[in-house]
Symmetry: C2
Subunit: 330 residues, 2 copies
């Protein structure tokens, strides 16, 4: 029983983990700006602050966790190199973190990945290995390379070091703007949400942490309500960063620190992207607009709260946007 | 002769005019962020800083000059109201400045103005009066209203107060980043360029001020080279804010303080918009991307300079962008 308690408390991350991560990464990340909008304040009747991780290196919060992880590898692990399977922001974040720290990175990507993402990943110095277009193939190709070369596999979210790094965005945010009543954060695999909730509850114990998820990828919502992890099955959302399912570590943190998970429609995500674009002059990717969509949905009846919203990233190229735009105008 | 000298020196504006304007407006403007990009540093071999006036109130630097102007009107002038003819950022900037200061604003707009711009101007509390779609009609309708109602006509750039207000962006910029070797600024009517050049030469006497103009609206370039003002005839550029011609006041300042004017093509403007979008996650209007286009054109052979670039505004709605985008991909 004593052992069990020790094990539990050891598992459960704390604000100090995030502070330590921050000390590790602060010289290499962008201290991203916090922005406001009188339009959105007017729409919600609240004082709303946006933490702009779309301005982070590689265009998303992911760099914080990757750098925190790679910088903690042993000398031997660094020498052997790191690997990830991803076609998204995690791939680029790990590639850049590895390059800065002088570590070889291999990224396994599906053959049908957009050329622009492959080029960007290679541009950060990673070696790209292609696999078939299935989740199984990605994992098996990566595992084979781990076995052959002794690479360290870096999971995109189900890892203490990734979570602690991700939480540094909320740490910076709250230290800059002060106590918040609510903090809105997107949820996919739960890495950003876990880190955000630990930082929020640590720094503002009275704040409510609201996770926002696309209705068309509602596995975290259902998991949270049913108290067991549901897989993400055929998620059909433009918010490509949020199609993943919760991990065991992130689920534990979320159960403890998150107050609620709410759902938003595809149209609500698109409308929020448009607001960012037209009123705040910010390029935000669909996943990055989800938290604002949740705030706008929930804010009926809100007034005078001080609210933080995390913009998780801004990686959307013109051709993607063109496709999304054609949906917007229908 | 003495009188003439007195008159001249009185005409010529100084850094102190900009500092006074700043004291007048600082509580009501956004102190816009300065951003950087490792990609653009890499492309130019320089250290490049961007002053983001796309984040200014109404989405453009114009608010600085409007607020500075309206706040200096006499009690009687304020009571009678202000007027402008514009379908662009000046209209919205004047409308908002007037509303904040409790002054009635009338904006004369061509009948074919985009509905979104009319709505935005009304949204800031201005009365919109429509005219025919010619420059002559705009001026004559405005002048009639001035005669009938005693409104004060606020010129978009050929006014000391507008120039001094516009110059506060460069004042903030240089006070934040320190001495610059070069500063790149777009030129249309020359209000922003005049203010920027006065601030730059006042604060960094060794800096070079480079104005950038669309090749398809090269009247300022020709005026600068020939030492007389050429009119802007049928300017065919997507940079709609830069289709105007120099004014007498702005030309005097530009001749004194600007080191060179260079031209950029439409494609170069589009490419810079895309760079802002994809690499810096910034929504920048075509006119706002012109200075970067100029830097990229001129920077061959540059190295290790510390460079400032003014992003003048970010007002471009999705439908406009859609049209521009279709040009981009050809």
């Amino acid at each position: 029983m004593l052992f069990w308690r020790f094990y539990q408390s050891n598992l459960m991350m704390e604000l100090s983990d995030i502070r330590e991560a921050y000390d590790r990464i602060k010289e290499n990340i962008v201290k991203t700006p916090v922005m406001t909008s009188t339009t959105i304040d007017g729409m919600t009747g609240c004082e709303v602050y946006f933490k702009c991780e779309n301005f982070q290196r590689v265009g998303a919060f992911k760099f914080r966790g990757s750098f925190n992880t790679v910088s903690q590898l042993t000398k031997d692990e660094r020498k052997r190199g790191v690997i990830a399977h991803s076609s998204g922001n995690h791939a680029q974040a790990l590639a850049l973190a590895a390059r800065i720290l002088g570590v070889h990175a291999t990224i396994v990507m599906p053959q049908n990945s957009p050329a622009v993402k492959v080029a960007a990943t290679k541009g950060y110095g990673a070696e790209v290995v292609f696999c078939e277009n299935t989740t199984e193939s990605r994992a098996s190709v990566a595992n084979e390379l781990v076995e052959t070369h002794g690479f360290t596999l870096v999971h995109p979210y189900n890892d203490h070091r990734i979570i602690a790094g991700a939480g540094t965005a909320a740490l910076e945010f709250i230290e800059e703007v002060g106590q918040l009543d609510y903090i809105f954060c997107p949820v996919g695999g739960g890495g950003l949400l876990s880190g955000t909730s630990i930082a929020s509850k640590g720094l503002c114990p009275n704040s409510k942490v609201i996770a926002v998820e696309p209705q068309n990828a509602d596995d975290a919502y259902r998991s949270f309500k049913a108290n067991k992890i549901f897989p993400s099955v055929n998620p059909n959302t433009i918010a490509d960063g949020l199609r993943t399912q919760l991990g065991e570590l992130t689920f534990e943190v979320i159960k403890k620190h998150v107050d609620d998970i709410i759902l938003v429609t595809e149209q609500e995500i698109l409308d929020s992207m448009r607001l960012f674009w037209e009123r705040m002059k910010l390029v935000v990717e669909p996943s990055g607009a989800v938290a604002l969509a949740g705030l706008l949905k929930m804010s009926e009846g809100f007034s005078d709260y001080k609210i933080g919203v995390i913009i998780s990233g801004g990686n959307i190229d013109l051709s993607e946007f063109f496709e999304i735009y054609s949906k917007l105008i229908t």
